[in-house]
């Protein structure tokens, strides 16, 4: 059989519809590919092989719908999205034995679209981290260089797609956790507008910032996936009652008249020179395609990291109170009193980074510090949001880098939490304002991918896909592959 693992969704769909392959063939080939490459990448925590093959066989009997590009497509799921009867750990010892009795709303949508969930993907513990190194279970490697981190927190979701284990995955993004690993692995990652995708069944980290989104190897694949998972949900009170447009409708290459803003703060201090160069080149590409690109200012963006670490940690300290060793998850053996159950289960079950965030959050919310920290952060968040509102009065999109650096060495930053936090400076403001943001391939530095971030107006992912597609078609960055996917050295 021909290689299936580097094909696009449309190519796979055509093979399925023409009956050159069956959904069962594709699912089996996917597990063969995962098993062959997993020793190199280590992207999965749990595989769903028996159930996936059953689903594929049932789909083959039912027949592949010609109008549904996603039918029979294998998908990987980040392990903080709950999956009925399938282990869901959030990469934490705290949930090492947790088998959910219900599905997240995005999983209902995955099944409605006849996609085949093949397994659960590694991540930073409870999505707290930027390198996937805080996972309790394993160390995922970058698809391009196995000595480098895959980024995080959706590191497994990004590395698995980039390495050709799966064509599509779901990740989550609270401060950059889809966009930065997509950038580090040279793929397309979309964090939709807050409220676009239901968070029901997403293990909550920071409820006012978290959002689920797709990671794929092409812009078109990504737009198909977002079509399937979007929509309001009565089980998530913050999901938007907006209609969902067809995100593939404007993949035309047309860019004439589009107004793009390039914030000077996104090319300032701390950005690697090669990345700055790649972004300026991307701006030039957009100009050649007929768009205008002008420099703007987002003056409060430099406070984004400080605001984020107060708000996200405060929300996390509250959300993670539910992990108490009583009803599910890890319970310490060494307990005499009820208080012991709480304290020892939490102290033994949570990893260091999670504890650090809980501590920072409890501190920010504690008596005497609330006004100076939590309340102040919420006010500066307003100013950050207003900066974006101002720019979007005159522009359709904002562009900049997805990360200030390319993938770094495994172990390099793990002992310096502050350095790790500061590297989220370009993605965090987008979550604080609830805007959609995506990362697409835009160059290389010493053989490692560079990501271009595209930020859109609330609920205007369609325009972002339009620009991303035009850029993709006008450049050849997306055609370069890592060695594991058949690329040259």
């Amino acid at each position: 059989m021909t290689k299936l693992y580097d094909k696009s969704l449309v190519e796979l769909h055509d093979l399925l519809v023409s009956k050159e392959i069956t959904a069962t063939d594709l699912t089996q080939a996917t597990f063969d590919r995962i098993k062959e490459t997993e020793p190199t990448v280590d992207a999965f925590i749990t595989l769903n092989e028996a159930k996936a093959l059953d689903l594929a066989k049932a789909l083959d009997l039912k027949g592949i719908s010609e109008s549904n590009v996603l039918a029979g497509i294998p998908i990987g799921i980040k392990d903080n999205i709950v999956t009925k009867d399938l282990l869901t750990t959030a990469a934490s010892k705290m949930l090492y034995n947790f088998t959910p009795i219900y599905d997240a709303t995005v999983m209902d949508k995955v099944y409605q679209a006849d996609m085949i969930p093949v397994g659960k993907l590694n991540m930073d513990e409870f999505a707290m981290g930027g390198s996937s190194e805080t996972s309790y279970f394993k160390l995922t490697k970058n698809a391009w260089d196995q000595t480098k981190v895959p980024g995080g927190s959706s590191g497994g979701s990004a590395a698995a797609v980039a390495a050709g284990q799966i064509p599509l995955s779901l990740g989550t993004d609270t401060g950059g956790s889809i966009r930065q690993p997509a950038a580090f692995n040279g793929i397309v990652g979309m964090k939709p507008t807050y409220g676009r995708v239901s968070r029901y069944g997403l293990i909550a980290f920071s409820s006012s910032l978290d959002q689920i989104g797709p990671l794929t190897r092409s812009v078109q694949d990504n737009a198909f996936a977002l079509n399937a998972i979007s929509g309001s949900d009565e089980k998530d009170g913050t999901s938007a009652g907006r209609s969902v447009p067809d995100f593939t409708a404007k993949l035309t290459g047309e860019m004439k008249g589009m107004r793009i803003a390039l914030p000077k703060e996104y090319l300032g201090e701390g950005i690697q020179p090669e990345i700055k160069e790649a972004i300026l080149k991307a701006a030039e590409t957009f100009r050649q395609l007929g768009a205008t690109v002008e420099e703007v200012s987002l003056p409060h963006s430099k406070y984004g990291v400080a605001v984020y670490y107060i708000i996200a940690s405060s929300e996390a300290s509250t959300n993670l109170q539910r992990f108490d060793g009583i009803r599910f998850g890890y319970r310490s053996e060494d307990v005499q009193t009820l208080e012991d159950v709480y304290i020892k289960s939490r102290s033994e079950g949570f990893g260091t980074e999670v504890k650090r965030r809980i501590m920072l959050g409890s501190f920010s919310l504690s008596s005497g510090f609330y006004d100076a920290y939590f309340k102040k952060a919420g006010q500066v968040r307003t100013l950050i949001k207003q900066d974006f509102d101002q720019v979007f009065q005159d522009f359709d999109l904002i562009i900049g880098p997805s990360a200030p650096n390319v993938a770094y060495g495994i172990g390099e930053n793990i002992n310096d939490p502050l350095a790790m936090y500061l590297s989220d400076l370009l993605t965090i403001p987008v979550n604080l304002a609830g805007l959609p943001g995506m990362s697409i391939p835009a160059g290389f530095s010493e053989g490692l991918p560079i990501g271009l971030q595209i930020i859109g107006k609330h609920f205007d992912e369609q325009t972002m896909y339009q620009a991303a597609y035009a850029f993709e078609q006008a450049t050849d960055f997306h055609t370069k592959k890592p060695v594991i996917l058949g690329g040259g050295k």
Binding site: I101, G195, A240, L338, I343, M359, K375, K376, L383, K385
Partner: protein, 101 residues
């Protein structure tokens, strides 16, 4: 502002976490650095600036009060670490764990 080891202990207590002396030392230093970083917010003038807790325009999302099937009790008990006679079991609460309460 530097945070003291005593304050870190207090916050650990609020968080239902315990640390040994080495961890306490590390956390005191690291949290101190992080708090110094977030204190840059003090330089921003936020007089009369509204507080943002959520970016949606939604206020109260209502639905009809219709009876719908709930969870199955046996299913819910599947993930409970310790149970007896269909109840979740924990150490005695009233007497600090001593037997005979």
């Amino acid at each position: 502002m530097t945070i003291s080891a005593e304050e870190v202990k207090h916050v650990a207590n609020l968080s239902k976490l315990s640390f040994n002396e080495d961890e306490l030392q590390d956390f005191t230093v690291q949290l101190g650095k992080i708090i110094d970083m977030v204190e840059t917010l003090a330089e921003v003038d936020t007089t009369d600036v509204a507080f943002t807790s959520n970016v949606t325009d939604l206020i109260n999302v209502m639905r009809e009060d219709v009876v719908a099937p709930g969870w199955d009790r046996d299913e819910l008990m599947k993930n409970v670490p310790e149970s007896e006679d269909g109840f979740i079991k924990v150490p005695a609460i009233m007497d600090d764990g001593e037997a005979g309460a």
